[in-house]
Point group: C2
Chain length 413, copies 2
Amino acid sequence: MHDLERIGQAAKEASQYLARLAANQKNEVLLACADALEAKTDLILTENAKDMAAADPSRTAFNDRLRLDASRIKGMADGLRKVARLDDPVGEVLYMKTLPNGLQVGERRTPLGVVGMIYEARPNVTVDVAGLCFKSGNACILRGGSEALTTNIALVKILHKALASLGHPPHAVQLITDTSREAARDFMRLDTYVDVLIPRGGAGLIKTVKEHSRIPVIETGVGNCHIFVDASADLQKAEAIVINAKTQRPGVCNACEKLLVHADITDVFIPQICDTLTKAGVEIRGDDATQERFGGTLPAAEADWHEEFLSLVIAVKVVADIDEAIAHITRYSSAHSDAILTESNVNAQRFLAEIDSAAVYVNASTRFTDGEEFGLGAEIGISTQKLHARGPMGLKALTSTKFVIFGDGQVRA
Amino acid sequence: MHDLERIGQAAKEASQYLARLAANQKNEVLLACADALEAKTDLILTENAKDMAAADPSRTAFNDRLRLDASRIKGMADGLRKVARLDDPVGEVLYMKTLPNGLQVGERRTPLGVVGMIYEARPNVTVDVAGLCFKSGNACILRGGSEALTTNIALVKILHKALASLGHPPHAVQLITDTSREAARDFMRLDTYVDVLIPRGGAGLIKTVKEHSRIPVIETGVGNCHIFVDASADLQKAEAIVINAKTQRPGVCNACEKLLVHADITDVFIPQICDTLTKAGVEIRGDDATQERFGGTLPAAEADWHEEFLSLVIAVKVVADIDEAIAHITRYSSAHSDAILTESNVNAQRFLAEIDSAAVYVNASTRFTDGEEFGLGAEIGISTQKLHARGPMGLKALTSTKFVIFGDGQVRA
């Protein structure tokens, strides 16, 4: 705990420094960090090879996220350059109005202060988060997966050198190198110094953080996403959207996991979409009506409606109408991304108003739920909670506001 | 716990209903509630008299907040009528942009869902909170101080009848009638149903809620507010502002508790302001420099710089310059409301940028930190945290947003 206490204090001090930096000072640092990462490509690859050598070879998807190569390092550097080009959110005045007594009152964006991040063994997150926090004037404390520790230490050392070379405190970005479970728990109790804690990773990680954190948490990511194909949908577009949402990248949180089909179109659409899905290698788990209409369907269990498959599996259900579709989604959705495919404006508006999810779509693939796709420039995660930030979080989600008041001697009557 | 579980479930269900109400339906309810409260004035006074009869007569300020009379009941009713006149925040589209691929992406305001409120024995809070939550489409669960229970039961019964008479579920507003400490603790663990918990009251109450809540909390209220009188300040205006901020209503969170005076003006300003404060009945606790310049000064202890006095006491300190003032405030302020009095634009801008408080003032009394004074129309509390809402919280602080996306068959490449 002693060490974490020191890390927290140093972060708090750095955050006061960072809050005062001008955008061009911050951009200069981001560009210097990008150049430094590229210049040290060989060193980073040597350190990453040590992590890879210690990795369990059977975890292929996991190891793919852990592994770096020259183009991925260039990708991280380019990510920092892109963040440098984004507008600085700090200092933005959201509005300023003059009250009857002559007081001018407005709200002005400020950094949050100290951002804590707990994530899995993905070295690119280390650089992404450091860049986004720095640009938004926040100090950050990073706790990445133990399997990426050697890589992360190398990356943060390079960022520190770049910060120091421009005369800025390296404590703007700190890495917790004790990757024990105890240290993680202690980190979650650093509420004196850390303003927000963002877990990024699987459902288990997020649940643990929610349970143990004394720091306010922004919950991210779990996506049990639905597509409801309404009676009036354009079935050709519907097929393309469902296939895209399910198969384009099945392992991510905005992939479609559940398909609801209006009863009026089951005879046509169920055989059509199930055939195409099956040919694309997707396993279909269906309710009775789906099983009747498509031979290859496995029976869906109750648990399937709750499950985030993250693989080439989809559960399919026939619903009587939009009411049943909305009721089903309200009950089972993780409130990440849900879509209606319809040509009915009334139904589109109802779905938008009544489905209470971070992203609600009409006639498009759920795969678009992403900070870059939504035009935020970059993303630190996707919030599935309602407080503070919801959906893809860009730089603005890393800010707070304060009221600023200009007077000329006003006192309250 | 069984009973609270039921309350939570009923609130969740009601919240789904409330999210769909149009503004005119909500306003109709608010006006009906206002009329019902006025019509039942006698009943409310009878019930309130029971609470007053059981109250400890020695707690005069406490009892003053507990006591109702006809004009206070009219005040509560008028408060609801005022909330009815405010714009409905729900459904507001913050922006809508068209992306290169033709997708239209925007953010739309939604209710938070279920708002929990823990507060002291102030019956007006029951009605205020119910009105603000209802207008913003949220269900609320109220847990007021035990000393006001009989009054609160009567008030909520009247609101329920008005809701039911218009065909709406009474569970939109629920009161926890078990005022035991155990029930309060169980309430704080209802995170399955309650989206946010707002404690309103003294520092002790807020600390308890922060420590025990599993529901996300919005911290409110504690105000250790500072005024820094810079060397260039207009000393006549400064005197009026300090007197107003300290004495106009000393028991509230936006009252001034600390006065910092630039060293260059101590010889003139310390005797002047301390004399006026003393004549207004204010006790002065000062550092050495203040004690030297004003005879009636008591020595300030370290604890005084942290303390929220909430009474006619002020601590006064001489600082060498704006740097020392900013450092002192950064260290001791509760980050509620802090002011600089200065004619220097450079120093005003520095203070605004560097003081990290919910409300930062130039040349005005800190007493203005209030939802109505800031033009928000009403206020559910003053947030002193940085996540989600900061400073006076109006209807918008009771909302979240969701991304809404309109497509025409777009899929991700």
